[in-house]
Structures are given as structure tokens and as C-alpha cells.
């Protein structure tokens, strides 16, 4: 197990270098004058100021040299300073608990709804609950999730006034319910369908015949044998969907003005604040990779049939 984890981490190194370099190069290529962005739109820039700023931010160095400064900085836990002089690390420090709360809430909703609906559909295969779940998941896939976000914001947040329409001033859970619902909708259809397919597949497994032959009640067979065995691919998808939640958080946090990592990235893009974009994107890549690794390990622990392949 330890050897597997170490191999995976070594395998991630080129990926991290590749991804961070692409992000860095893309932001490096951002149009506009960084000196102007740092000095502010109205200030008169004297040649001396320009030299000073260029010097301070290493703007004159070639791309690869700047990338090297950035990588060594990241390894020291230093994400750089944004164009307004704030350390990016401080922005991240303020934002991550918000995203963590939102992500965890959305993820829990997604798991409950997805597995619940999938199980329901599988238990009533071919009958009305199955069709209802199929219809519901298709509709969720078919409606763009930011439209859902806006409709919820207008109807529930503004017109009915049941929940805060934006911001996180009212704290958890009130302020997090609407954004979390929107985020959760991203994963529910796939999860529900996967759970359903997995359970239906397992109903005809040999161990179910054994359990039936032993005289167990259908309910016990369902809960202890079928559902439990069906959850392995589901756990794998649940884990991977954490990464999609990270991406979806950019949009949802933007719409609901939730001051998390996604919102910080979004405003960073709007303000052409390169170091913020690079810093947050880098962090998201790291989180994403870490989550993938954890998922593989958890799946291996859950089901001994899954072998952690040697040549990883």
C-alpha cells in the first residue's frame, strides 16, 4: 500500500509540472501591461517607478526563469504576491474554509440524493419510481446548472425570501443551502444511474443466491449484500466528483457571491490579477490530485477484489 502511494506520487510529478507550467505560461501571455495593473489605472508611471516595479516582480526575466521562481516559491509554501500587494497565501487562507464548507455540504447532499435515488430506482426496476428517477435525472442533465442557480436565487432567495440569495453573512447552513443544492445537482444524475446499474447487476450475483438459499429476508439481502457490494464503483465516482465540485464552485460561488476559492479565482480573472489566478489554479490542481489518490486508496480498502496494480 505504501509502495503504491509512493509510486503514484512520483507519477504525479510530471503532471504537476506540466499543469502548473501551462497555467503559468497562459497567465504570462495575458494581454495588458502588468506594470500598469500594479500601479493602478490612474497613476502617472515615471520611468523610475516602472523600473522599480519591473525589478520587484521580476517582469524582465524570461518565462522559464519566472516559472522557476514561482515553482521554488510554491515548494516553500509561498504562492507569491498579487498585483495589489496582498500575499496570495492570505487570500487562500481566507477562502478555503468557505469552499470546504460549501463543498462538503454539496458533496453530502449529492451522495445522499444520488445513492438514494439510484437505490430506489433499482429496487423498483421497471415500475413508476424507476421511471420517475430516470425522468428526473434526465431533466437535471438537460437544464444548465447555472440556470438552475439563477432560478433558485430569484425564486427562493429573492421572491420567497426563504434563504439568503447571496453572500455568507448568515453562516452555515442557511447561506450555504442554495449554492450547495446547485453544486450537488452536477453529480446527482450520474451517481443515481451508476448506483442503479450497479445494484441491478449485483442482484444476479452468486452471493445473492447464497444469501437467499440461507433464508435471509429480501430486505437484509438488499441492505447487507447487494447495496454494500454495489457501492464500490459509486465510492470511486463520489471521490472523483470532488474534483468536479471544485470546478463547478467557480460558477456557483460566482453567482451566489460565496467568498471561496472559486469566487477568488473568478474575480482574479476579471481583474486580470495573474498571481491570484496562478496561485488558486495551482492549489486546485494539487487538491484534485490528492483527492484522486485518496479515492484509489479508499476503494482498495473497501473491496479486496480491487488490486492496486503493480506497474502504476
Amino acid at each position: 500500500m505504501v509502495a503504491f502511494v509512493v509510486r503514484r506520487i512520483i507519477g504525479m510529478v510530471p503532471l504537476v509540472i506540466g499543469a502548473t507550467f501551462v497555467i503559468f505560461a497562459a497567465v504570462y501571455a495575458l494581454p495588458g501591461d502588468p506594470v500598469r495593473a500594479i500601479a493602478g489605472p490612474t497613476t502617472e508611471i515615471s520611468p523610475a517607478t516602472r523600473t522599480a516595479i519591473t525589478e520587484e516582480y521580476d517582469l524582465d526575466d524570461p518565462l522559464l526563469v519566472q516559472y522557476w521562481y514561482y515553482v521554488t516559491g510554491v515548494l516553500r509554501g509561498d504562492l507569491g504576491v498579487d498585483l495589489r500587494g496582498r500575499p496570495v497565501f492570505e487570500l487562500v487562507e481566507a477562502a478555503w474554509p468557505v469552499t470546504l464548507q460549501l463543498g462538503a455540504t454539496a458533496w453530502a447532499m449529492m451522495a445522499l440524493l444520488g445513492v438514494g435515488l439510484g437505490t430506489l430506482a433499482a429496487m423498483h426496476r421497471g415500475h413508476s419510481p424507476d421511471w420517475a428517477v430516470l425522468g428526473l435525472t434526465t431533466v437535471i442533465v438537460g437544464i444548465p446548472y447555472f440556470v438552475v442557480a439563477y432560478v433558485l436565487q430569484i425564486v427562493v432567495g429573492v421572491q420567497l425570501g426563504w434563504l439568503p440569495a447571496s453572500g455568507v453573512r448568515e453562516g452555515w447552513p442557511a447561506s450555504y443551502v442554495l449554492p450547495a443544492v446547485c453544486l450537488a445537482m452536477l453529480g446527482v444524475p450520474e451517481l443515481a444511474r451508476l448506483t442503479r446499474a450497479s445494484i441491478i447487476e449485483n442482484r444476479y450475483a452468486d452471493f445473492v443466491d447464497t444469501a437467499t438459499a440461507k433464508g435471509l429476508t429480501p430486505r437484509v439481502i438488499m441492505v447487507r449484500h447487494i447495496v454494500r457490494n454495489s457501492l464500490v464503483p459509486v465510492v470511486s465516482v463520489l471521490g472523483l466528483s470532488l474534483g468536479f465540485l471544485l470546478g463547478g464552485a467557480i460558477l456557483v460561488e460566482g453567482i451566489f457571491a460565496v467568498p471561496g476559492l472559486g469566487y477568488t479565482l473568478f474575480t482574479g480573472i476579471e481583474q486580470k490579477n495573474g498571481p491570484v489566478v496562478v496561485g488558486i489554479s495551482t492549489l486546485m490542481v494539487f487538491i484534485f490530485l490528492a483527492l484522486n489518490l485518496i479515492v484509489d486508496v479508499v476503494c482498495g480498502l473497501l473491496d479486496p477484489r480491487i488490486r492496486l496494480v503493480r506497474d502504476a
Binding site: V27, G142, I143, V232, G254, V285, D296
Partner: protein, 301 residues
């Protein structure tokens, strides 16, 4: 590397045996209401996208660029069933004309990703070795980070973002998903007896792939085409809505939703009509794709 299934997950489909093999394609009913209903909506959407002029003038004000600021944000009135946008333009005409870029991007991106998938997927599966490693490792890089983050970073560096640029960036980030599907389907086919036989009698790689591998492994990819078009239309409008996709003066639903962002509390109709058209379009493609998937690939049912 991350992204490759280092773990052998027991998939729900492994027990497909000859006894449970699906009915041949030609024996499966195609013209059912489940297919025909979304298909007619899709056909209508395609006609609107191709000839918006036929529909925009229904209420007598067919030019989306004839605007009068005096009408800014006006509600529905006679001749203007959807009301006016912030610039005072007829919203109905704008929404009708907005169909074209969305549908174009949806179709172009799906076509692009499918073509790449067929070429690279078949090549990787057939030749194996270095070719397969190169394709697979490149895909791993794309599976290694959140797609939306990558798209936002790339797109925000491009100033001239027309429909072709946005389609190109979407293809860049979504080809690995179709290619992975194609590769695994082709991989299963390559080891089958008739492919080995064709290779054995000396057929060229080109002939084996075109005549034997492709026809027998394209099902899973074709099955996700409809859903893919819907998903790509959503992806485009989401990016545009975020402000990194299409931009004015292009008329598109995403742009309309983006400009309506700050006005939605007072004037929800600005948000309502573009999102309604967007939703109906995406839903039609997804439902059609879903119905066709069950025809093409009944194992997934």
C-alpha cells in the same frame, strides 16, 4: 500516472456473455415516440439555427439590432412578446438569433471530439506500444486537473473570442473523454478473432481499422453524441456567462444571460427567455441522445 484506472474496478457490464447479447441493431425499433418527440424538437432547433430570419419576424420586429434605448428593459408588449433587453432591442428576435452560435458550437465541438476520438482511439488500440502510451499519457494530463479551471485560464488569455475559438478550446479540453471511450471499445475489438484473422491474412492496418475495428467499436461513442451536444451547448453558455466565452456584438444566449446578470432582480424576463430557449434546446438533444443510446448500446439500459 493519475487518471489511468490503476485499480481494476468491477464494472457493471463485465458479465455480458453471448447468451445475453443484444438484439441486432436492425431489429430494434427506432421510430418510437421516445426518439421521435425530441427528434422533432431538435429538427426545429436546427432549422431555427440555420434560418433565424424565418422565425425572428413573426411578431413584426425581426431585426435583432434595431434598438431603441427608450425601450430599455421594457416588459412584453404587443409585437414584442418577450419585451426588450437592456439596449432596448427586441428580446424575441435576439433570442431567436442566439440559437445559431450555441448550436454551431455544440455540433462543431462534438464533431471535433468524435473525429479525434476515432483517429487517436483506434490508433492507440490497434498499434499499442508507443502510440498507445503517447495518447494515454496525454489524456492523463487532461484528466489531471479540473476542466473548467483550465478552460477559464486559457480563454481569459485570448482577446478575440469568436465561435471558432471557443469551439477550439472546448475541443481541446473534451477530446480525452470521447477518446478514452473509443480507445477502450476499440481495444476490446482488436483482440477479437475476426480482427486477428484479418491481420493474419495480411490486410493493411488502414483496412483492418476501417473495415473491422471501427464499425464494431463505434457504438459507445455514437451513443453519447446527443448528450455530448447538449453538454457542450451548456459548457459554452456557462463560459460565456462567466465572461470568458463569446462576447458582444455576437448574439448568443450566454451573452444575453451575462448582461442580464445585474438586472435580474428588477427584470427577470431578461434572464427567463434566453434560459428557457437554452434549456429546451439542451434538453431536446439530451433526451434524443438518451433514446438513441438505448437503441445503439442496449447494454447500458
Amino acid at each position: 500516472m493519475s487518471g489511468t484506472p490503476e485499480t481494476t474496478v468491477v464494472t457493471p457490464y463485465v458479465t455480458l456473455t453471448p447468451e445475453t447479447a443484444p438484439t441486432p441493431l436492425r431489429h430494434r425499433p427506432l421510430l418510437t415516440p421516445r426518439v421521435l418527440l425530441p427528434a422533432s424538437v431538435v429538427a426545429l432547433v436546427l432549422v431555427v439555427a440555420a434560418f433565424p430570419g424565418w422565425f425572428a419576424g413573426w411578431f413584426g420586429h425581426g431585426d435583432p439590432r434595431t434598438c431603441d434605448l427608450a425601450n430599455s428593459r421594457g416588459g412584453p408588449t404587443s409585437g414584442h412578446p418577450f419585451g426588450f433587453d437592456i439596449q432596448g432591442c427586441d428580446l424575441y428576435a435576439n433570442v431567436v438569433y442566439g440559437t445559431r452560435p450555441s448550436v454551431f458550437i455544440g455540433l462543431a465541438v462534438t464533431a471535433g471530439t468524435v473525429i479525434i476520438a476515432v483517429v487517436l482511439g483506434c490508433a492507440a488500440a490497434y498499434f499499442g506500444g508507443l502510440v498507445d502510451s503517447a495518447v494515454s499519457r496525454t489524456m492523463d494530463v487532461f484528466f489531471g486537473f479540473p476542466v473548467l479551471v483550465g478552460q477559464v485560464v486559457i480563454l481569459s488569455t485570448i482577446e478575440a473570442r469568436n465561435a471558432f475559438v471557443v469551439a477550439g478550446v472546448l475541443i481541446l479540453f473534451f477530446w480525452p473523454y470521447t477518446t478514452r471511450l473509443m480507445r477502450s471499445a476499440a481495444l476490446a475489438t482488436v483482440s477479437l478473432g475476426y480482427v486477428q484473422a484479418a491481420r493474419g491474412v495480411g490486410a493493411s492496418p488502414w483496412r483492418v481499422i476501417i473495415r473491422h475495428v471501427l464499425p464494431n467499436s463505434s457504438g459507445p461513442v455514437l451513443a453519447v453524441v446527443g448528450i455530448g451536444i447538449g453538454a457542450m451547448i451548456t459548457a459554452e453558455s456557462a463560459l460565456t456567462f462567466l465572461g470568458v466565452g463569446l462576447r458582444q456584438p455576437t448574439i448568443s444566449w450566454g451573452v444575453q444571460l451575462n448582461t442580464a446578470r445585474d438586472a435580474f432582480r428588477a427584470d427577470p424576463h431578461l434572464l427567463l427567455f434566453p434560459s428557457l430557449f437554452l434549456t429546451v434546446t439542451v434538453l431536446a438533444f439530451v433526451l434524443l441522445g438518451d433514446a438513441l443510446r438505448d437503441v445503439f448500446d442496449p447494454r447500458l439500459q
